[in-house]
Amino acid sequence: MALSFFRGIQSRPFLLYPSGFFPRKHALFYCTMKSTQTQIATHEKQEPQLKVSTQSKRLDKISKDFEAVIGIETHVQLSTITKAFCSCAYNYGSQPNTTVCPICMGLPGALPVLNSKVIKFAVKLGLALNCKLSLNSKFDRKQYFYPDLPKGYQISQFDVPIATGGFIDLDLPVEYGGGHRRFGITRVHMEEDAGKLLHTGNGSYSEVDLNRAGVPLLEIVSEPDMRTGIEAAEYAAELQRLVRFLGVSNGNMQEGSLRCDVNVSVRPIGQLEFGTKVEVKNLNSFSAISRAIDFEISRQVLLHNEGESNQIVQETRLWDEGAQKTVTMRKKEGLADYRYFPEPDLPEVILGNEYIDGIRDSLPELPEMKRRRYEQMGLSMQDVIFLANDINVADFFDATIAKGADVKLAANWIMGDIAAYMKNEKLSVNEIKLTPQELAELIASIKGGTISGKIGKEILFELMAKGGTVKGLITEKDLVQIVDPVEIQKMVDKVIAENPKQLEQYRGGKTKLQGYFAGQVMKLSKGKANPGLLNKILLEKLNAKS
């Protein structure tokens, strides 16, 4: 046990000298970028484009003289069926105050009993974040008064969290300059969520819904390793991917299943000590994280440059999405006193090595592993990041190439026409009727010359909307590519005969008209003529008598 305490003490030097594992030259190049949203999250609602024109000049200055230090606390709501300490079910959007019981309402005498899934999910995430697991950990009571907390304390983990000292790997999107990053994870601990507090516009009261009270959370605390808004947003996006790949949470930011609080400070480059940190809350999307941090950095640097660095105080600020700025929520008066003590109603949490190994062996392929594998297959980083972003898309891609499809072609189809269709129809990859089997078949049919690429595209849309098989559609619609030179020649002859005027012009030097002829022949063949053969025969015929 002594060991775990010393671990706590030893981690201190890391906090004091975090410096960087990474070069900091990348600093603030992102200010030239258009949208923070494109690659980060296909699931999140589209955000308005990043407005940086006014900030870009200021940010240029920052990159020269100042450095930002960013750490993030993330709360992930676990996708268990029941709450952490009672058997009440939790479903987002249920009628308020319907899934409650004496335990989650904090009635006297009610005793908590831990959901075994919570430990399982914590171990999964701890392992996925490369953490050291505490074989013995415990729950503690964190006392504070707030109407959404019926017991007057939150059951959490304080000095012996279930996992500590890990890291997370990620690839920055290519459009932000790319690059691989590794950010430290300080700790992961289990705790329960509070209820939901609603502030109605009118009236002198607030409303409480306790359905969410007692829902299990994992809090993930990062090392202060991030330097830019983009890095922070990408860290959050990678965490979202990770919890989704692991199946421990839906990671949905809109529903509050993934919540990020960021700590931002700036310091002159070269200075070892951190500047005064400011906490920013109310970040409901990755682009909000990125923009709130960039705003906060320029606000703090501006104060530094104007000789008013004493105006930077330790406080909690809120991101105002409408005004695109952070505003003071509350100033901190010393450290809050939560009077932690061990939760007397719960036994300690003991992990066996066998249990841990069992979970380790059952971990799925994680986003970072997937990206490295795709990279080794020869895909570009842009393809890699796109395909590994969504586990369902990645599974679809993997299943397609498992059916023998060409890797690059499969990637192109998925990222091109299929992604566009999903976006237009607001469907996920699991909702379209196209199967990986048929996509592989389609790719093979085009590659083998059975159908043209153009026809392939038409079939694809039919497959996505209605389903069916490539073979079935080809026979049904008589779409087999015409590769018989005699048949193509007949069509070429017909088109030339029907367009004497254009033929004259062509032979008079307007050779661009070849395209016109090719189009007419293709039309006549209903798109089925093999384009290579068509052009070859057409050219021969057009140039024949000149």
Partner: protein, 153 residues
Amino acid sequence: MGCCELLLLHTTIKMGSRALLLLRPTTSTKDLHFKSRFLSEALIVEKRRVRSYSVRSTIHPPDLPRLAETARISLTPDEVEEFAPKIQQVVDWFGQLQAVDLQSIQPAIRADTKGENLRDDVPETFENRDAMIAAVPSYEEPFIKVPKVLNKE
């Protein structure tokens, strides 16, 4: 005052001498860039804990007004005068534990180390919800009504 005492007792029973450390004001910390409030508190507690092996005798007297404030109870000056010695007594009582030599003892994270008590993730509906809701002092379907709050603390 019951709440404070209860808390103190819980703490002391479960944690022995550490509870006394928690009684000290925690505001003297330097403003370092910690990642989380409680993490920094954790480190502070650990540090003190270790230190307490050698510096055994300093127990600060409880600050009654502060204790009352953290428990959200108002005390009249008379009550403060009445309770202060009583709380002091409890603190002194547990202070005797400081005399125990812990040099060679590994800290226990829990008093009871026996067995886990876990539950399967299977939902069950609590049948007497109506009675619970009926007991809520201020309820307006479907919400519990509370005085307007916008900021924590």
